[in-house]
Structure formats: structure tokens, C-alpha cells
Amino acid sequence: MRYIDDSVVMKRMKTRLNRNKGWKALFLTGTLFALLCLVILLVRIVTQGVGYLDWDFITNFASRRPENAGIKAALVGSIYMMCIIAPVSMILGVATAIYLEEYAKKNKINDFIRMNISNLAGVPSIVFGLLGLTIFVRALALGKSLLAAGFTMSLLILPVIIVAAQEAIRAVPQEQREASYGMGATKWQTITRVVLPAAIPGILTGSILALSRAIGETAPLVVIGIPVILRFLPDGLLSEFTALPMQIYDWAKRPQEEFLYVASAGIIVLMLFLVIMNSIAIFIRNKFSKRY
């Protein structure tokens, strides 16, 4: 006695295949919709902004006249800020991840810490802005400086870097650690010689993606009170500065229509910046990632 009747199977075959096609079409529509929005956005920005995008735009300071306006101060400010964020957030983030994954014992306190780091990654950036305003700008009296903004942004992306580094470290097979411990290596030797070399591609990829998020963030800078129009370049860690998204925000809200096009040109520069950073991340992942 057979339980599966061939004629019933054949009768249902068509319905099953059609249902499969239906779901596929639905998912494809979703993907195409997202892609379409992106293309419209890009086309609009490029057509609007490309007319204002030239070498003068990169080398000029902000101006009241749209045709003279440039993003020199903002571009340099963003790059300087990156030079603070990258080392601060990566050193703290990787150190935390190593501690949590390799040294910390499994207990309730550490589980609580782990859980909350993941939660911190979801906290709105404006909250980090308020934190930066209270601690760095006022309590530590750093003012609206590069250093204050850099520290605030570091805190903002720190949870993301920690989680990415934890995942990269966890992806190193336990057998590799056992092999090292089995020959009498200490924990530190195992971390530097086995775990980190295998985890570094993942750590770098995650960190660069987090950094590109920091480049585009505006809310914390607004809360800290970073000025918009500056006609000088920052000359030290405690100097005032402005950043790309702040400059774009300012242009976009001006009444003259021409400044909208200037803002588009600024967005193109910001996006090129991000594309370059993400390409570096992808390059590192493809080139150095190891398979076990």
C-alpha cells in the first residue's frame, strides 16, 4: 500500500509551481522598486548637481553667491574628523571585542554587557549627539571642536565596530585555537598569531562600513552645534570646523533655487567619498578573507 498517490501529486503539481512563480514575482517587484527609487534619486542629484561640480567647487569656501560656493572647509573638516574617528573607534572597538570574545567568562554580567552593546547599535544618532554635547562639549570643555565631534562620532559607531569585530573573531574556528593552546601557547600568543590574522579582514570591513556611516551622519553634529559657514580650515584638534553633511543641509534649506543645485553637487562629492570607502572594504574582504 502506497501513501503517495501519483494522480493526486500530478493534479497539485500545477498549483504548486504557480504559487512558486507568484512568490518569485513578488520578491522581484520588491527588489526592482528599491532599485528604481535609488536610480531616480541618483539621476536627479547628478543632473541637478553636475553643472556646479567643478574644481572651483572643491577649492572654494562657502559663499553667499551660489556660483562661487564651494565645499573646501566641509571636505577638509570631514577628512580631519575621520582621522580622529578611525583610530579612536577601532582601537576601543577591537579591544572590547577581544576582551568579550576571548577573555571574558560566561556569566550574567558579561551576557548583560554583550546584549547592551548590540542594543546601543540601534540607539538614534541624535541621542549620541546629546551625550557628546553634555560630556565632550560642556563637561570636558572641548567646545564645538574637531575633537568633540570626533569623539561623539566614535561613540556612535563604536557598538557597530564591536559587533562586527566580535562576529569576525567568533568566525575563527575553535579548532584553530585548540591547536595553538595544545602546543602551550598563551592566550595572548593565540590571539595575536591565530585569531587576529584570521579575523582582521572581517574587522576592517566592518570598521570601514561603520566609518562611512559616521561620514554621512548629521544629527549629532547639529546637536553639538557645529557651525555651517566657515571661511577657514581647522588648524588644530580644538579648532572649529564644519563637515560635508552639515554644509549640504545648510544649502538645501536656503530659499534660492540655485543653492539646491549646489547641495546636489555636495551630495555627489559625499557619495563619491562613500563609494571609495566601501570599495576599499569590499577589496579587503575579497583579497584577504580566508576559507577554512
Binding site: K106, P173, E178, G182, G184, A185
Partner: protein, 283 residues
């Protein structure tokens, strides 16, 4: 050929007798050998699970000691207790003693790094590092502070010869060890273990992931190595235990049911459960 190589290296270890290289010639009882691992009333728990119960077992110098038993009987746990690898599991508790050369390895001031330099381990799944063959073998010496390139070269060659894989890899020492076959990778892991010049080699089912020909090579290697090292091998393959070991311990539900000379275990076991197991009635 490899045996002659091994003999050339015998001057390193003082206690080697060349007759021991061939197992068939071994006398059945050798009580005058010194004890490498003395286990006294040893208990181990994973959380609430009592995994090893009142283990008493003496492992003798230059013997191949096989540990057999069904899955979950504690054989892997026991061998991992011998180099304190079980401590990587955070919920492990122990009591009782395991004495290595007369000192309790679970004692308060025993450095685990020191123990593992003397007691090397070969794992179930070949686990070379994703580095070159040379760097794999030189890993152990390097962590113990040897930097001299000439000495490292000598250790690498000697270890690879000792693991009978020198001829296969000597022209590609700078290639990634992951390019080798599974059986070669496992012999690389054995060579890597030899490079720290251990006293004891623990092998945790070293052939369970290998094909029959690679298994045979590893078994031959065990026979060659036992002249210089004491070997403890966990295996789920009873024929393998019978072929390569001098002593066999049968574990069941965390206890040692029987521990005796291998030929005795497999011909006239004292305990009914041992007989049932080796005759294939369970497990």
C-alpha cells in the same frame, strides 16, 4: 627508510630501545616502565553531568595506550583532561588527581602552558593553521621563543621526517597547508606536535576523518613514534586499537570497565561488558 631516520634521532631521547620500534616483538607485560600519567580517583563534571567517575588509570612510558568505548562514554573527555584541554569548556569541574611524572596537573601552581609543552595533542579533525607548511611546523618552537632561522629549519625538517611526510612536502614548504589532502594535513598536524619535542602525544580519534589509506599511514606512523614518545590514542575503531596499541582501556558511561594489555582485552576480557562491546553486541 623512515625507521633509520628515527634511529638517527634516538640520541635525543635517552630511554629509547630500538626493539620497541616493531610492536610484535614486544613482551606482553612490562611492569618496570615508569608511569607517565597516574590517574587517581579522578572525577569530572560538565555542569551537572558526571562525565568521568572515579577514574584510576596508569599510563606507562613508551606504550601506545588505546582508549575505546561507545560514543559519550567519556573517552575524549579523559584524553582532553590529560592536557587540561577540557578547561576550555567553562562549566567543567574536577576532583581527584592526574599526576604527570609525579606532579598533579590540576594542582594549584601547575602552569597549563608548561604541561602542554610536554604533552602534545593531535585532534580529530585535521586543524593546520591557514599558513605555510613551514610556519605551521615552526609555530610551536616560535611561541616558545626560538627565533634563529637555522634552528627553525632543522626543527621543521626533523619534525616533518618524524611524521613521515618530509618527502611529500619538502619542495613546497612555503605553500599553504590547506592545499594538502586530509591525510597529509593530519600528518602535518602530527609533525607540528613533534616540533615542540613533547614527551607524550595525545591523539583524539586522529583517523576518524581520514580515508583508509591515510588511516593506514597514520597507524604506521604511530608504530614508529612509540619508540620515542608515549602515546595515548582515543579510537572508536576496535580493530585499530587491536592493531596499534600495547594497552587498552575500555570506557563505559564515564567509568573504566577494564584496563589491560591489548591482546588480553581482545582475547580474554575479564568483564562481560567488555566482551559484549568488542564482539559488537552494542556500541
Amino acid at each position: 627508510m623512515v625507521q633509520t631516520m628515527m634511529k638517527n634521532e634516538n640520541n635525543i631521547k635517552l630511554n629509547v630501545q630500538s626493539s620497541q620500534v616493531v610492536s610484535e616483538e614486544l613482551p606482553v607485560v612490562k611492569n618496570n616502565k615508569s608511569t607517565v600519567f597516574g590517574t587517581k580517583d579522578f572525577n569530572l563534571w560538565y555542569g551537572d553531568h558526571h562525565a568521568l567517575k572515579e577514574i584510576n588509570l596508569d599510563i606507562k612510558e613508551n606504550d601506545v595506550t588505546a582508549i575505546i568505548g561507545p560514543s559519550g562514554c567519556g573517552k575524549s573527555t579523559y584524553i582532553k583532561a590529560l592536557n587540561r584541554m577540557v578547561e576550555l569548556v567553562p562549566i567543567v569541574r574536577t576532583n581527584g588527581e592526574i599526576n604527570y611524572r609525579g606532579r598533579n596537573i590540576f594542582g594549584a601552581n601547575y602552569q597549563v602552558e608548561e604541561l602542554r609543552t610536554k604533552v602534545g595533542m593531535v585532534f580529530q579533525k585535521p586543524n593546520p593553521f591557514p599558513k605555510s607548511i613551514y610556519d605551521n611546523i615552526a609555530y610551536g618552537p616560535r611561541i616558545h621563543g626560538i627565533k634563529n632561522k637555522k634552528i627553525l629549519d632543522e626543527i621543521v625538517e626533523k619534525s616533518l621526517r618524524g611524521a613521515a611526510i618530509w618527502d611529500e612536502v619538502k619542495d613546497r614548504l612555503n605553500q599553504n597547508a590547506y592545499g594538502l589532502s586530509g591525510g597529509q594535513q593530519q600528518r602535518i598536524c602530527i609533525a607540528r606536535c613533534l616540533a615542540i619535542e613533547p614527551d607524550v602525544i595525545l591523539m583524539d580519534e586522529p583517523t576518524s576523518a581520514l580515508d583508509p589509506i591515510s588511516t593506514l599511514k597514520v597507524e604506521e606512523l604511530v608504530q614508529e613514534l612509540k619508540g620515542n614518545y608515549s602515546i595515548v590514542i582515543v579510537t572508536h575503531n576496535m580493530q585499530q586499537a587491536a592493531r596499534i596499541s600495547d594497552k587498552t582501556a575500555f570506557f563505559l558511561n564515564g567509568e573504566v570497565v577494564e584496563f589491560d594489555n591489548t591482546d588480553k582485552i581482545f582475547s580474554t576480557p575479564k568483564d562481560q561488558r567488555t566482551e559484549d562491546y568488542i564482539s559488537g553486541r552494542f556500541g
